[in-house]
């Protein structure tokens, strides 16, 4: 039995809209588990059902062997970190963090020790007596994190905690969250729509779409071995080959059987560019002309018009020589491992 199990969670809004449609997940002790998906996919609904802010229409939530749905939210002993920080503006940083210890009847001396410790963990020790109103978003979210952590909850929930922060701070703080979570060893469910964030921070990721689970797995499994076309498209990006004789010839060259596959795709970083007459043993080549060149610093994207459709090729560490111009004749190299096939229902078709 896992630490937290959600079985057949269903949430219906109105007569027709299913925010959650039979979702089942299980989470282990100390695990960092991420719900990833576009807005409206049900990830926040699931998180709030676990927190107790919205009840499910049907389904079971069991934490450490006890049914959670019968408990009101304030008795669930679950820490929560909010997207808008939800820091209490009328309380000092110290009182914010100590707020959850008061109903737990923690003696004053111990409270002081625990709050100070939590503030040191999030590197806010020097600001304990300040009011949070004038503090930066990053600092406010650190207060939110310390406040949720200090009660030593059975479960830590984070609802897009970094999405209101700027890009640099987001990366910095996600590393910190990751380190702190490992240090305090509390099972954590993290909600985000940012796939890069999910890959960087999680032990396991659950990709959701339209109220259903698409795939659950480690970051490597999710990115490297997507089980549905949705996952492949949402986590990273993919090229979709245009069906036709060029695609058939390419698949024949690579020795892939088209059986059962509706769409063939390949990730941009799995493709390569060579000169028009270039050949690669064991790989297929598609001749084409450059239609767009996008330089991004550590990588560049070259869009090539080929007989199998418009393909984007990602070039790592592009030097000056890698610059391409619109109209240049090139060839796209497709190695045998690159193509991924998906059936008409979007499910992955194994070669």
């Amino acid at each position: 039995m896992s630490y937290l199990t959600v079985t057949n969670a269903t949430k219906r809004f109105g007569p027709t809209f299913m925010a959650l449609d039979g979702v089942s997940v299980s989470i282990e002790r100390g695990e960092f588990f991420t719900l990833l998906g576009p807005s409206g996919c049900g990830k926040t609904t699931l998180l709030r059902a676990i927190a107790g802010f919205n009840d499910l229409t049907s389904g079971a939530i069991v934490l450490d062997g006890a049914d959670l749905r019968t408990l009101p939210p304030h008795q669930r002993d679950i820490g929560m970190v909010f997207q808008d920080y939800a820091v209490f503006p009328h309380l000092s940083v110290f009182d914010n963090v100590g707020f959850g210890l008061k109903p737990r009847k923690v003696p004053a001396a111990e409270l002081k020790i625990r709050v100070t410790e939590a503030l040191d963990t999030v590197r806010l020790g020097a600001m304990a007596e300040r009011l949070p109103a004038a503090m930066s978003g990053g600092q406010q979210q650190r207060i939110g994190l310390a406040r949720a952590m200090v009660i030593k909850p059975r479960l830590l929930l984070m609802d897009e905690p970094l999405s209101n922060l700027d890009a640099k701070l987001r990366i910095e703080l996600r590393e910190e969250i990751r380190d702190i979570q490992k240090q305090v060893d509390i099972a954590t469910i993290y909600v985000t729509h940012d796939q890069e964030e999910a890959l960087a921070i999680s032990d396991r990721i659950c990709v959701m779409n339209a109220g259903k689970i698409e795939q659950v797995g480690t970051p490597q499994e999710i990115y490297g071995n997507p089980q549905t076309r949705f996952v492949a498209e949402f986590v990273g990006s993919i090229n979709v080959f245009r069906p036709g004789s060029a695609l058939d010839a390419m698949l024949a060259k690579l020795g892939h059987a088209p059986g059962g596959a509706a769409t063939w795709t390949a990730r941009p970083e799995h493709l390569a560019l060579v000169e028009p007459d270039g050949q690669d043993s064991g790989a297929a080549t598609l001749p084409g002309t450059v239609t767009k060149f996008t330089y991004l610093g550590r990588e560049a994207h070259v869009q090539v018009d080929t007989p199998a459709g418009l393909l984007v090729v990602q070039i790592a560490n592009p030097g000056m020589a890698a610059t391409r111009h619109t109209g240049d004749a090139v060839a796209v190299v497709v190695p045998p491992s690159a193509p991924m096939a998906f059936g008409p229902d979007g499910a992955r078709v194994k070669r």
Partner: protein, 549 residues
């Protein structure tokens, strides 16, 4: 939305709110309607309405009401926009002082303005006398002209405060963009700024219009035969001989309908014209030079000082030496002595009624505001709508409605303090409900959820997080309600008996008796109380003149 299982507190509150609205709003308004539709013998009749349509006396009052309403509206619009434009676009020395003058005009006791103008420009007016000595003769201020001058100067702050707020929020980039497109300053003002502040203009104008239509004291004192619907309703109600309640209620119904039409009209006019500018690029104030600068300063200070003149006059006159009701040369505290020894109960009444009304308003308004903000359903939308009604009820109508409802029947309240307190309560309640609901909607719901996840029950979370956060706003709102409560004349005038007389009523009666010294002293006390309340309110929520509207 936080689900509170088993605890059906809010259902109870919802029912109680409807009961309260039923008793204090629907029954009185219904009684007015019923009373207007039945004759003395208790038979259904439309005679009152046909009489209203037939008699020239009522035609005249109706037309006069529209004249003073729109005259007040245009006067207030003119003065208010000039002042708003100058203060928010030009560098005006002592701009804060000008705002203070506007606030002074706004919180000054009603109709004291009318009397101060009589003191200056009436038949035996000081200024008129002075001018006569110089050989300049001017007509006395009585009649429609005087009413319009007083209304313009009394109600211009509504327009000024609304429009100056809107003008200082017009994004400068918009005007710069228009400049880049080659528009002249005049074209910019008319085609960019004007449409942006149009909703504020109509909102301020509506407030002026509604107040002008509802005002009773000014036409009563200055009109000299120029009757409006509010004075007609009061005359019919209060006549010693031949009091005609059903005709008074008929006029009340007409007044409610007229006010309602204007409210709906304003809502329709500004519906599609709400602009939300971002505040990144605030407009800058221009330093004018030469005669333009002098003109702008003159305009602003002239309007501000004229508006505050009644207050200044009554403060000065309250310290003048008197002999009986007649002023003597020199200064003395006689008027205050007479209040101290003769009118203590009036001051006490005013204070205790206002405090009681404000306490009720704050408690009930907050709870209902929470209900409206947190329980979104058809019922609360209806509730929100029902709370619009007291906005359009002139004080005189509320007074007559309460008499119609509570004179006989299951609840008899006439002659009690309760009826005065409740009439103030129901009129001011919508304001508190609305401000509470607005401030609650601005609070992130995750704040309370955070407290709940930390182990507080929903009720405790509300008490410990939400209440402290909205408290300053509630206290400030309570203080502003106190200002309206203690200055309320027209409903109290209908509802008072000897033992429940309030300061505004006493001032009114004193002025009718020609005892201006004591009236001025009472007004000064009233002003002092209002001023302190405004000061406390601004301490709690920051200086925010627009909250006074």
């Amino acid at each position: 939305m936080i689900v509170m299982p088993r605890f059906n507190f809010w259902t109870v509150i919802m029912i109680l709110t409807w009961v309260m609205l039923f008793v204090l709003l629907f029954v009185p308004v219904g009684s007015v309607l019923v009373s207007s539709l039945y004759d003395q013998g208790g038979n259904f009749t439309l005679a009152n309405y046909t009489k209203f349509l037939a008699e020239s006396r009522f035609h005249q009052a109706f037309a006069n009401t529209l004249v003073v309403g729109f005259g007040g509206l245009f006067g207030a619009l003119l003065l208010g926009s000039i002042m708003a434009f100058c203060v928010s676009r030009f560098v005006i020395r002592g701009g804060k002082f000008v705002s203070l003058l506007a606030i002074l005009a706004l919180v000054s006791p009603p109709f004291i303005g009318a009397y101060s103008w009589i003191v200056l420009f009436g038949a035996g007016g000081v200024v008129r006398g002075f001018l006569r000595d110089l050989g300049i003769s001017m007509p006395p201020i009585y009649g429609v002209g005087g009413i319009l001058i007083v209304f313009s100067l009394k109600f211009y702050p509504y327009v000024y405060l609304m429009v100056s707020g809107a003008l200082s929020n017009v994004n400068r980039s918009l005007e710069e963009a228009a400049e880049g497109l080659g528009l002249t300053p005049w074209q910019r003002t008319m085609r960019i700024s004007f449409p942006m502040v149009f909703p504020a203009l109509t909102a301020g104008g509506l407030l002026a219009l509604i107040h002008a239509i509802a005002d009773f004291g000014t036409p009563r004192l200055l009109g000299r035969g120029y009757n409006v619907l509010a004075t007609e309703a009061f005359t019919l109600y209060a006549a010693e001989v031949g009091s005609n309640m059903s005709m008074a209620t008929t006029i009340s119904v007409v007044l409610i309908i007229v006010s309602m039409i204007f409210v709906l009209l304003q809502r329709y006019m500004s519906r599609r014209n709400v602009y939300h500018g971002n505040m990144i690029n605030k407009p800058i104030r221009i330093q004018l030079k030469g005669w333009r600068n002098v003109l702008a300063h003159f305009a602003v200070y002239f309007i501000g000082l004229c508006g505050a003149l009644p207050v200044i006059i009554s403060v000065i006159y309250s310290f003048r030496k008197t002999s009986g009701p007649v002023f003597q040369d020199g200064f003395a505290l006689q008027s205050y002595e007479r209040i101290l020894f003769g009118l203590g109960d009036v001051v006490r009444n005013s204070l205790s009624f206002s405090v009681a009304a404000v306490a009720l308003i704050v408690v009930v308004g907050t709870v209902v505001g929470v209900l409206v903000a947190r329980r979104t359903s058809l019922n609360t939308a209806l509730l929100d709508g029902a709370f619009m009604v007291p906005y359009v009820m002139p004080g005189i109508v509320i007074g007559i409605a309460f008499i119609a409802a509570f004179n006989t029947g299951p609840i008899v309240l006439t002659g009690t303090a309760a009826i005065i307190i409740l009439s103030i309560f129901i009129r001011r309640l919508p304001y508190t409900v609305r401000t509470t609901a607005t401030s609650l909607r601005q609070l992130s719901p995750s704040m309370e959820e955070a407290a709940i996840s930390l182990g507080y029950s929903p009720f405790q979370a509300f008490l410990r997080i939400t209440v402290p956060l909205i408290m300053p706003g509630i206290i400030a709102g309570g203080m502003l309600s106190f200002v309206t409560a203690i200055n309320e004349l027209s409903s109290s005038l209908v509802l008072y008996v000897g033992s429940t007389m309030t300061m505004p009523v006493r001032i009114y009666l004193l002025i009718l008796d020609g005892d201006f010294g004591v009236a001025a002293a009472l007004s000064t006390i009233l002003l002092l109380l209002s001023g302190s309340a405004v000061y406390i309110a601004f301490r709690f929520m920051g200086r925010n003149e627009q909250a006074l509207l």
